[in-house]
């Protein structure tokens, strides 16, 4: 059988999701954001909810998420996505509302909004991209930065004495009564991508079923900020990040 005979529409098993726009993303080559965008676009189409989805975009690298996934979006002030999502979901109870936030947005400037939205049990899904660094502004230390990790603002590595300890905020969120599903995933291998997709699907289903807040942390890479190649970043993440941020469900009710 020739290649031409195989490359026919009826044989297609993996297509570019239709909800992704034709825009080329501004993300660096190999950035985890693209993979997560793709998963969201696939799921919203598969679950047939694109028409009633409202995404809340953060401040950070994903600030332009609304250019890439063709659903309704609101751009929130830095860290305030869960507060905006609260309003969106209360005023539009039939909508699927999710936030898409990085670690600087969710676990630094937006800590109060994050904790209180989860504690109120808002019917939203929070997708949390944790790459342990402020990517957009040039790789400064974030609350999630690992001890010893070199960043623009910790050139000799983060120390507990000077900078405090890395914050595993997802563990805190799992303690709150308002959260129904809290999990930590990654997208560095095809198998991990499939698990993350299942996790985000569950979160979206929980929101639609009004079960409370779901939090999906996705341990991610920032190869530009980490100053490695994308493939090296994935290896480094598996070796170092998963120790502090182990993968798996923290809460599943």
């Amino acid at each position: 059988m020739t290649r031409e005979e195989i490359i026919r529409p009826e044989n297609k098993v993996y297509a570019r999701p239709e909800l992704l726009t034709d825009n080329v993303t501004h993300y660096c080559p190999g950035c985890s954001h693209g993979v997560v965008h793709k998963i969201i676009a696939e799921l919203l189409a598969e679950m047939n909810v694109a028409d009633k989805t409202i995404g809340i975009a953060p401040v950070g690298c994903a600030v332009f998420a609304y250019n890439y996934i063709d659903v309704d979006w609101i751009e929130a002030a830095h860290g305030r996505a869960p507060a905006v999502a609260t309003a969106a979901s209360r005023l539009n109870p039939d909508s699927l509302v999710f936030t898409y936030q990085g670690d600087g947005d969710l676990s630094a400037i937006g800590t109060a909004e994050t904790i209180h939205a989860c504690n109120r049990g808002e019917n939203i899904a929070i997708i949390f991209i944790n790459n342990a660094i402020y990517g957009m502004t040039g790789g400064q230390m974030a609350p999630t930065t690992l001890l010893g990790m070199k960043t623009a603002t910790t050139p000799y590595g983060r120390t507990a004495e000077l900078n405090g300890y890395p914050l595993a905020i997802t563990n805190l969120l799992a303690q709150l009564d308002g959260t129904c599903y809290v999990t930590r995933q990654a997208v560095h291998t095809a198998a991990a991508v499939r698990k993350t997709k299942a996790a985000i699907k569950k979160a979206f289903q929980n929101s639609m079923a009004k079960k409370g807040t779901s939090v999906i942390e996705i341990v991610s890479t920032c190869n530009s900020g980490w100053k490695m190649t994308p493939a090296q970043s994935n290896d480094w993440m598996a070796e170092h990040m998963f120790e502090k941020y182990p993968l798996g469900d923290l809460k599943n009710e």
Binding site: M1, R3, E5, I6, I7, R8, N11, K12, V13, Y14, A15, R16, P17, L20, V24, T25, Y27, C28, P29, G30, C31, S32, H33, G34, V35, K38, V187, H188, T189, A190, V193, R194, T229, P230, A231, N234
Partner: protein
């Protein structure tokens, strides 16, 4: 599988993900945006597993598969 070479950013993640070493980055040639894009250097070895497409952050890869029932 097919690769949208213009959309590709040459990140190499599909090359690493492929279990049968089908893919490589262009050693010299670049696309319009200056990236050494991925291509199927060894297309005969492709088993249509879609690992490459699953990990591609820019959704450049589409995968086609036929089941050979030996008929």
């Amino acid at each position: 599988m097919t690769i949208d070479g213009q959309r590709c950013k040459g990140c190499d993640l599909c090359v690493v993900a492929c279990p049968t070493d089908v893919l490589l980055l262009q050693p010299k040639e670049v696309n319009d945006r200056g990236y050494h894009y991925a291509f199927a250097a060894n297309p005969e070895a492709c088993i249509g597993c879609a690992a490459c497409a699953t990990v591609c952050p820019d959704a450049c890869i589409e995968v086609y598969r036929v089941v050979d029932r030996g008929e």
